[in-house]
């Protein structure tokens, strides 16, 4: 797992009276997301949470929030938000054009917005998902937290904010570079596929299709076939698992995926690279790189180093 300062459950924070963000324009598929919830998957409750976990953690670190503090996940379109208290915020992940009352602001820098001002976000210019973190955090409703139900933002919604933090000056963070090379471990049913399909999976480019969503990234390419038809019993699956349904077109499961499934599993994307799948735009391609569990550990260690260096710079 990516290191977290506290448990992965969404933390409830004290509410400042009337501190809200009023949604003037919601954008498409915007939602409030934390780092997800574990311990309830045997009840069919998905892990949930931000699709680009590292971008959410980055935003929270820049503001001094706990890592799992919920933020607004943006997918596309124009978003306009009115703040009723002074707030520090930062946008991480996909590149958006950011303006406060028409004044342009840098991406991945924390900035202050005053009560009554309107924040306008337009994008994404590149990549797919951005995270708007606010000092004190954005409160999801209890039902959405307990059942990890993603509720899309609607015009007129009022998002309650946690207590303001004392922050003195703007700072910025360097975001990591995107590539379309997705490292993955071979899946338990890999040997059930034909040699040609196995080769195609690891060597071909796969195009992300338009019907991808928070449950899964659907890929198009060569049809992957089993050596013989196979019925599997329903079993647990998790974000990162690459399922191959009878269509032969793989699906990379994401945060809101159901907790059990019955399709053969070709591979599992490593945790350190799952954000890249979430940041791939429909129509773009990805490639899978076969790695070992040891290489997956090394990749997680690199993320820990990134956040360690970031924290040192923030604290300096």
């Amino acid at each position: 797992m990516i290191t977290s300062q506290e448990s992965s459950t969404n933390r409830q924070q004290p509410l400042a009276n009337d501190a809200i963000i009023k949604v003037i324009t919601p954008g498409l598929f915007s939602s409030v997301q934390g780092l997800g919830l574990s311990g309830y998957r045997h009840l069919g409750i998905p892990f949930g949470g931000a699709l680009d976990r590292q971008a959410l953690i980055l935003g929270n670190r820049v503001l001094g929030n706990p890592d799992s503090t919920p933020a607004l996940e943006l997918t596309s379109g124009q978003v306009e938000l009115k703040f009723t208290r002074d707030a520090w915020f930062v946008l991480t992940g996909a590149q958006y054009r950011i303006a406060i009352d028409g004044r342009d602001i840098w991406h991945s820098w924390r900035n202050k917005i005053k009560a009554g001002e309107i924040l306008t976000l337009r994008g994404p210019k590149s990549a797919m998902r951005a995270y708007l973190a606010v000092d004190g955090g954005i409160q999801p409703t209890q039902q959405n937290t307990t059942l990890q139900i993603t509720k899309q933002l609607a015009k007129g919604d009022c998002l309650r904010l946690g207590s303001a933090l004392s922050i003195a000056k703007p700072i910025g963070a360097v975001q990591r570079g995107y590539s379309n090379e997705i490292r993955a471990l071979p899946g338990p049913e890999m040997s059930l596929f034909t040699p040609q399909s196995r080769k195609a999976f690891w060597s071909n480019a796969w195009q992300l299709t338009n019907d991808s969503n928070r449950m899964g990234a659907r890929l198009a390419g060569e049809i992957l076939s089993l050596t013989k038809p196979q019925e599997l019993n329903s079993h647990a699956v998790m974000p990162g698992v690459v399922q191959v349904p009878p269509s032969g077109q793989p699906i990379v499961l994401l945060a809101d995926a159901q907790t059990t499934g019955g399709y053969p599993k070709m591979a599992t994307v490593i945790e350190a690279d799952l954000w890249k799948v979430a940041q791939t735009r429909p129509g773009s391609t990805v490639r899978f790189i076969h790695v070992s569990p040891g290489q997956a550990d090394d990749a997680n260690y690199e993320w820990q180093q990134y956040f360690y260096r970031l924290q040192r710079a923030i604290d300096a």
């Binding site: 797992m1 574990s38 311990g39 309830y40 998957r41 045997h42 009840l43 069919g44 409750i45 998905p46 209890q142 039902q143 937290t145 307990t146 059942l147 990890q148 139900i149 471990l185 899946g187 338990p188 019993n233 329903s234 079993h235 647990a236 998790m238 990162g240 698992v241 159901q258 907790t259 059990t260 499934g261 599993k265 599992t268 490593i270 945790e271 569990p293 997956a296 550990d297 997680n300």
Partner: protein, 226 residues
């Protein structure tokens, strides 16, 4: 000591899977599943797991710490052999169901298919005590064991785009209840007003859990909110 009918493997970075499906038909699916719940309960006493998820005659254990994967891969089979499946049963939950009419739009079709009266379909559906084998598909959705084999009905060839929460349906040899509005292909025979989701109780956010028993009680009227 190795039992070739058991398969243990790693899934991704932090999960291990125990697959017991080859023990069937030597043992019944329910008997195998009962031992899986017992093993799940044993493992939940260790604080090393993020999640412990039963599937159909299999169990997946999600570890917090990937360095513990090798250890658990080596011991899980031994732990399985210590299970008996005795004294593992959950409470019985009674679910009132209004069968037929707009609440169960496929009841007539199911009855015709099996050449039974609708009252006989209702009788056979509400007679058994079902067991929640595991949950999946959506929060709180139970996979129930115990459907009368005369009621086995294939799914609709075209799934409905939206099925109301509380709908009771048959899909193949399974019966179940939809906890929330969802698209789905099961044949709908009735509906309950009992909520399968209890988000106001964060510790137990679903009405049912693996090992629970379910009884459907036919009623002639029910109040539905919303």
């Amino acid at each position: 000591m190795t039992n070739t009918n058991l398969t243990v493997y790693r899934l991704g970075e932090n999960a291990i899977v125990l697959d017991c499906s080859k023990l069937f038909p030597e043992f019944s699916k329910l008997n195998i599943q009962t031992r899986i719940w017992e093993l799940a309960k044993q493992c939940s006493k260790s604080l090393e797991f993020q999640d412990i998820v039963p599937g159909m005659n299999n169990l997946t254990l999600f570890l917090h710490d990937t360095t513990q994967v090798t250890f658990w891969l080596s011991v899980i089979e031994k732990r399985w052999h210590s299970t008996t499946g005795l004294n593992v049963s959950g409470p019985t939950i009674e679910i009132p169901v209004l069968y037929g009419r707009e609440y169960g739009p496929d009841l007539d079709a199911v009855a015709r298919r099996h050449q039974l009266d609708t009252t006989e379909v209702i009788r056979r559906h509400s007679a058994p005590e079902y067991t929640v084998l595991f949950l999946g598909f959506q929060p709180g959705f139970p996979y129930l064991d115990g459907l009368d084999s005369r009621l086995t009905t294939p799914r609709l060839s075209t799934p409905r785009l939206s099925i109301p929460a509380g709908s009771v349906g048959i899909g193949g040899s399974q019966t179940g209840i939809y906890p929330a509005d969802a698209p789905g292909g099961w044949q709908l025979i009735g509906r309950t007003n009992i909520s399968l989701l209890t988000p106001d109780l964060p510790a137990t956010p679903t009405l049912l859990a693996p090992g629970y028993k379910v009884r459907f009680t036919p009623v002639t009227s029910l109040e539905f909110t919303s």
